[in-house]
Amino acid sequence: MSEPDRLRAVIVDDEPPALALLREYLAELEGVEVVAECGNGFAAVAAVSEHDPDLLLLDIQMPQLSGFEVLEALDREVATVFITAYDEHAVRAFEVHAVDYLLKPFGVERLGLAVSRSRTRIGRGPAVAPAVLTAAARPPGTPLARIVVREGAKVVVVPAADIDWVEAADDYVVLHVAGKAHRKQQTLAGLETQLDPRSFVRAHRSILLNVARVSAFEQYAKDSRVAVLADGTRLPVSRGGYARLRHLLG
């Protein structure tokens, strides 16, 4: 039934009239089939997993999970067109290699242009490192306030302040949050640069520590210490890490 050059699209906007307009425009354009309509970011992440679309038309300003955060949580690459009333996000949108960036209100011709741009992009789009996406999900110069983590089909938003410590493992990190562990595809060094350096300190080569959770240090050999967290967790601290922690804790 679907033609070979027919694009399968997921459309996402939290405002019903905006979603209706997208649907109507796409019906006018030849060769685009809307496979899912989503009213929020979480639904969008699930819809992309389920339908594996060619094209994602994504609003940026949405409750709880912004358009940028949706992109960060996706498990596959989709040609993405951002849609927003705010032109100040344009730079960030192209940093995450969005195919196009539409400003509300826009006409059907402009959407048609975005769709044809997507066609040329599909199949040879550059892979974007998750760290780039994470970096783009926050305004420049401000530390990351929350982290989007994917768990199967579910998306979890973890406030940075809730993280107890982060552990490096191969090419991903494990966020330890109140006894729960969340895996995320990112390097520890990458995450370290995004979090607030006044809160998170590299205590060890493979450990990033939230200083607010440290309750004590214990020496167990010359030049090697362990940090004891409020919940009783014991983590190794290197000599350099200890110096950094002491500096921060005063």
């Binding site: 009239p17 209706a20 307009l21």
Partner: protein, 365 residues
Amino acid sequence: MHPILTRSGRMGPYLAAWLPLAGVMAVLIRLAAGSSWVEAATLAVPLAVVYAFICLAAWYPCKATPLRRATLGQVILTHALAGAISTVLWLFLAVTWASLLETYPPFVGVSERFPRLVLVLLITGLLLYTLAAVFHYLIIAFEDARHAETRELELRLLAREAELKALRAQVDPHFLFNTMNSIASLTTSDARAAREMCLTLAEFLRDSLRLGGRGSIPLADELALADKYLAIERVRFGSRLRIERHVDADSESCEVPPLILQPLVENAVSRGIATLIDGGELHIAAAHTGGRLTVVIENPFDPSTPSSPGAGLGLDNVRARIAATYNDDGRVTVSKEGSRFRVELDLPAEPTSRPGMPGPTGAGS
């Protein structure tokens, strides 16, 4: 803060004003006690300088019994007491000074002559104190007038700012662009609703300009403006935006500064309801009890969204305008508990002289 002591450049002229008084005192001393000119001047000049300083203290009783608020009895009693204390203190210093001078040859006999001076000094002291009190009252009146002028200017500036803000809200790109997008969507699906939204938007813009230029408006007008804004946002957000209103009929006729609620309502929608996937209820309540007008705007919000309510400039402006309009008589209470944001305005209830709702707003103006 003492107006002469705390400001530089005022002490000199003040003391200079006492020089002729010192001269008068010297003449009085010569007349009353038959002192030589040298003796009269040696007594009068230091006593005048000392009394100049003592009289500065008159500022405190003046400040304590402001003419506008204290009764005449309070004013007279306070100053009679302060005047008596000042004069007796001065007289005591005068006696001490005279007895010190006694030991120097040119002033021999001054102590004997002194009793003849007591009455003169007593009357002079009381008169000068009275003069000082009057002088300080004049300073207070002058500073009050200047304060009132500054406040008036500040108020006009803030009102102007609100007007400009209203103007800017009209061109607020996000509100306008999103609204236009909704209208574009409705043109094919529901042409009548699209037209309705165009008209509501036009009315909202026109009303915010018109009301922003006034000194104060009935609460009913302010709420009607909020209703127009919310009608537009309800098209955008659909069932996510729910509105609950509890407005007492007699609160609607109270006067409020124009566009005082509008920033709060916009804040509640854009930083509150819009941050929630399922939206929420926006509560607007107003009550008029015991001479006070209370207006409450309450909304849920997502605490994990970085731009939480209250961070905006709108709230600062509301606070500043309430402070400038009502002084200490108006309060803005902001509370953020869990996922609920609440702003309460507590204002003196000022019943309007005009009828609650003005005429039709559609045409002209």
